[in-house]
Symmetry: C2
Subunit: 238 residues, 2 copies
DNA sequence: GTCTATACCCCGATAGAC
DNA sequence: GTCTATCGGGGTATAGAC
């Protein structure tokens, strides 16, 4: 009896995964705004009404894809940080760790452009993200925070300048996010985070077309400068 | 005869403008991917087939909206630069001009989020931008280049560091874009440009929700740092 | 330049048989 | 859990009358 239920649950997991895989393909072909349950069902040789047993609505499927994407890029970032941290014979300097994590995020984005667009591109009109997405969405940011914390403990930080009017905001955010770090560094980290993704988005969304060729070196240079803007000490890249 | 043709052409221009205006409303409601000629026609009290006399296909309408949006944000940037340049009793320092232009772009984006998403957000699947969009798309960038050129001539630039591997790329782009400027500054400008729009996109696309409140001051601070990263001399904002 | 009509597609979601 | 059938929409694009 329990094995039967186990088999059923296994089947359910497999079908769910197949639906999400096919939905990711449809995402690439049509975009999130036009993702349709019927098209997914058609490609899978199912009938559309059958999908409703797995995802009660189109938005629920979209939510699952969003959560998966955030988790995937979060995992990549966490892995890159761990690798840089455990590098032999010496752990990488903190600026290099920062650049490694940023580069890993960029690599994931280039490999999964439509999933990147789903989570960091324009919002899907008519879709409002439920709370389920909040946790996964913060994973990448947490990697950068942890990385900066390590640098702070090991070498201290060159605390960035902060406009006085931003002081209360910096303190509020720091209390929520990383009470052990200097508020100016936390605010600079948030700005750097947005700017890193700006570089990735411009590359991915075509703004660099016919303009920038050496995208990876440009990204690495800019990421290194951003690490320094947060206060990480170390030779600038290059 | 010529007045009749003039009247006809005037009518055509007015109807074309009405279609685009309505299309912009639909853009806000449904997003670019779902923009439909029929919905626009319905709202205007026309029949869908009539629209094809003005725009031969959905993609042509989309192109017109994209060109208009690039032109609108370009005009705002040009205006902000001119204002900062002619400020009395003294023209604004170059860092402040940079921040003013960046702030104007952000202001336009906040006021026209769907048009911003159309041009700087995820590409519309299945739509490929024709060459018509290239010119308008570069207007904002040209404003920043001109601004940096002014600063270079007036005060010189604190030429940014450049990774040696990026030197050829920097020289190639500089030759195309602004042969009179130092290549490292031009490359830094491109990176700064992407990073500015990263800040705007994160704010607009919801990544700052429940995280950053003081968005305008944060943007101004970061924009000032970016100006310095390009080499503009001047007191940092704050 | 606008109209009606049409060909030929798409979609989300549900009811009820099996 | 999957099926057929259905409700009630939506769309691009064209033909041909006026």
């Amino acid at each position: 009896m329990s094995t039967i239920r186990g088999a059923r649950e296994r089947a359910r997991i497999e079908v769910t995964a197949a639906i999400k895989d096919e939905a990711r393909k449809r995402l690439a072909a049509e975009g999130a705004a036009r993702l349709s349950l019927r098209a997914v069902a058609r490609e899978l040789g199912m009938v559309s009404s059958a999908l409703y047993r797995y995802f009660p609505s189109r938005d629920d499927l979209l939510t699952a894809l969003i959560v998966d994407a955030y988790d995937a890029v979060g995992e990549v970032a966490e892995g890159a940080r761990a690798t840089a941290e455990q590098a032999r014979p010496h752990p990488a300097p903190h600026v290099e760790r920062w650049v490694a994590v940023a580069g890993a995020v960029r690599g994931w984005a280039l490999a999964h452009p439509h999933e990147y667009a789903l989570i960091y591109g324009s919002p899907v009109p008519g879709y409002s993200a439920p709370m389920d997405t909040v946790g996964p969405a913060s994973r990448v940011g947490l990697v950068f925070i942890d990385l900066v914390r390590d640098a702070f403990r090991a070498d201290g930080l060159a605390v960035p300048r902060l406009a006085p009017e931003l002081r209360p905001e910096a303190e509020r955010i720091t209390a929520d996010l990383a009470p052990d770090l200097p508020p100016p560094a936390v605010l600079a980290l948030i700005a750097a985070w947005a700017q890193l993704f700006g570089l990735i988005s411009f590359e991915l969304f075509g703004q660099f077309n016919r303009l920038v060729e050496a995208r990876e070196p440009l990204f690495r240079q800019a990421a290194g400068e951003l690490a320094r803007s947060v206060g990480l000490r170390g030779t600038p890249v290059g």
